[in-house]
Symmetry: C2
Subunit: 384 residues, 2 copies
């Protein structure tokens, strides 16, 4: 096992009716800015529950945070928050709203060009406290300190991390997810599944507990994802999916083991260039990464083939082929196509993605930092 630090102070309030806890979780004198997305929280009852819980509080609103939240939109929220003396942010929605609000939290007290928080990882030395009400299980943003932000002007999609933007609390009520579309559910399953694989499928470091906990999440996603799509109001399936997505990226399964975030790095470019949903880009790239890296990841691929997909017969190469094929088939089974062609993207995008990545410095992705620009091109060719 590798050395690690694990520190996750986010308070999780999980289950039916937990939105009521906002009344006690947010300091009474706070000047609150409620941030949200396209307005689905008004139609699914979440907005009303929040208003009820926060009756009599000083409450401002900022709606319209888009999927892949942009600097341009978020800067407007920062201006509003500064003008109104906001001292608590309440993000209500999915990963985009939560990520965007983390940026707002860091940008409000930031002196200078706030894009530098993301573009050059300018140190975040303070942030406005925030809480969240999660309505879309997928990104894990509700229990970590990372956010992915897009600058619309240049189509750059980049991340920043700081413990200061970890939510003080996150409320996870599975009932708020009943009204999600099949597409949102499928994307969320693909996102969470990929998060786990990126922390699990590298090389063995004798960390059997982390391995088994990662496998626990994968097996549960495989079981509960299709169940959720078949029965959208199955509370337990929703709850299990939600808790899986949170634990997939709260630092626990990645503690003490190598990680490989290649799929996310390439996926972000596909979203930035082609507007493909984040979860879908991962389903496109991950099978290709596993295929391209099959020698480097051999031992773990065989473990994954056996423990997740039950592949024990046949020679090792065919088991690895089988595991990659099963992964692809799983994504397709939750309604997420896995080929660039399915999104009308052709091979012409390959040199563009490679050039964009290379333009930000030497490309050295993967658990061995040996996936260079040329390898990114080959991976994309495998995902056509």
């Amino acid at each position: 096992m590798q050395n690690f630090t694990f520190h996750n102070p986010v308070k999780i309030l999980f289950g039916q009716g937990q939105i009521r806890a906002l009344a006690t979780e947010i300091p009474p004198a706070a000047r609150i800015l409620l941030t949200y997305g396209g307005g689905s929280i008004r139609s699914n009852g979440v907005y009303d529950q929040i208003q009820q819980a926060l009756k009599g509080r000083v409450l401002f609103e900022f709606g319209g945070i888009e999927p892949n939240p942009t600097l341009e939109t978020l800067n407007r929220a920062v201006a509003l928050a500064r003008a109104e003396g906001i001292d608590f942010l309440l993000a209500v929605g999915g990963g985009s709203v939560l990520d965007g609000t983390k940026f707002i939290a860091a940008a409000i007290p930031f002196a200078g060009d706030s894009w530098q928080i993301v573009a050059s990882h300018a140190p975040v030395t303070q942030a406005i406290p925030m809480g969240t009400v999660l309505t879309l299980p997928a990104t894990g943003s509700e229990m970590n300190g990372t956010a992915v932000i897009t600058r619309g002007a240049t189509r750059e999609k980049l991340y920043f991390s700081s413990p200061l933007v970890m939510p003080r609390f996150s409320i996870l009520d599975p009932e708020t997810t009943f009204s999600l579309s099949e597409r949102q559910v499928g994307n969320g399953v693909a996102d969470a599944f990929t998060h786990v694989v990126e922390q699990y499928l590298t090389y063995p470091v004798n960390a059997p507990l982390q391995d088994r906990m990662a496998e626990a999440i994968l097996l549960t996603l495989i079981e509960e994802g299709p169940k959720t799509l078949a029965q959208p109001e199955d509370y337990d399936a929703r709850a299990n999916l939600m808790w899986c997505a949170t634990l997939a990226l709260n630092g626990l399964i990645g503690a003490g083991v190598p990680q490989d975030w290649t799929t996310h790095a390439i996926g972000h470019e596909l979203t930035a260039l082609h507007g493909i949903d984040h979860g879908r880009t991962l389903a496109i790239v991950l099978p290709a990464v596993l295929q391209h890296q099959r020698k480097r990841k051999r031992a773990k691929l065989l473990q994954y083939a056996e423990r997740i997909w039950g592949l024990r017969a046949g020679d090792e190469e065919s088991r690895i082929d089988g595991a990659i094929e099963k992964t692809r088939a799983f994504f397709e089974s939750v309604g997420v196509p896995t080929r660039l062609a399915d999104y009308s993207v052709s091979a012409e995008t390959i040199p563009v993605v490679v050039e964009r990545l290379a333009g930000r410095g030497p490309v050295a992705l993967g658990e061995h930092q040996d996936i260079d620009a040329a390898a990114v091109g080959r991976i994309l060719a495998l995902s056509l």
Copy 2:
């Protein structure tokens, strides 16, 4: 899944050499009280590493915290801490030192008879901040807010819990555990294993992720425990054992599921009356609890039989018998005898234990609160 709150802000620093981090984790101006047990930290090099890391700091010492730490001993530490204006506690040792230090942390600012914190769960409204260096993986105290304290005068062993006594940080360096005796390792394995079973082996509530994570810890303990005994300086085995014991009782696997702490409740009486090591009392009581509750726990016992012990053949009763027998055999395999007779305790203790438990109020243990005083007697009879 049941509703839950999960909030664990303990910072874990895990791995070789992490004791050095004390220099940055403890505030520079702190007046520190170092608490420890019988002095093994002087022979195994831990004491020197701590002195090195805290060179130049204001550092007091309080040694001699015994296994099953007593109110009488801890009150002396409280007096010292008050006299010296201590504002940070550093507990170095196993669960007893950590639990004792949690009590000291709460008792220093407590007005009145500090035993009431434990005996009548008097509210803890403030506590001195503390950190830990764990040297014995077993109790999970390093990542939770619970402590078990004994009053020597009356042989009462009781617990209290408060988020205020959660350590600010815990340092887990597996190398500090190389010098543990086989008995300490075996006891620790039995303790951690039982913690998991007490949160897992109740009745199904459709929480497959919690189930699989609990199973992940059990399987890893079964694998790494004997490995550690065979090769005391196998770093990875030590590390895996240590991380298992921490995650066994940090609130994660118990979030959203029923729990059954019967084994601990009865075990504490056996320690208080007969001085049997804590881990050993659990190995005595747990198989008897499973046997006595086999109807109530039927579905989970069958799952445990299959997933942990690979028992898939035969009728259901024989698989349950097999799982209980395998549990007993596992404890014995790590050097922990599982019968009261092995500790020269006879049936005469049964009415004494029953009376002591009943003397504190109605006995209603287990996930259904239906284990009454008579049932405790029957459970003990099964463990003779």
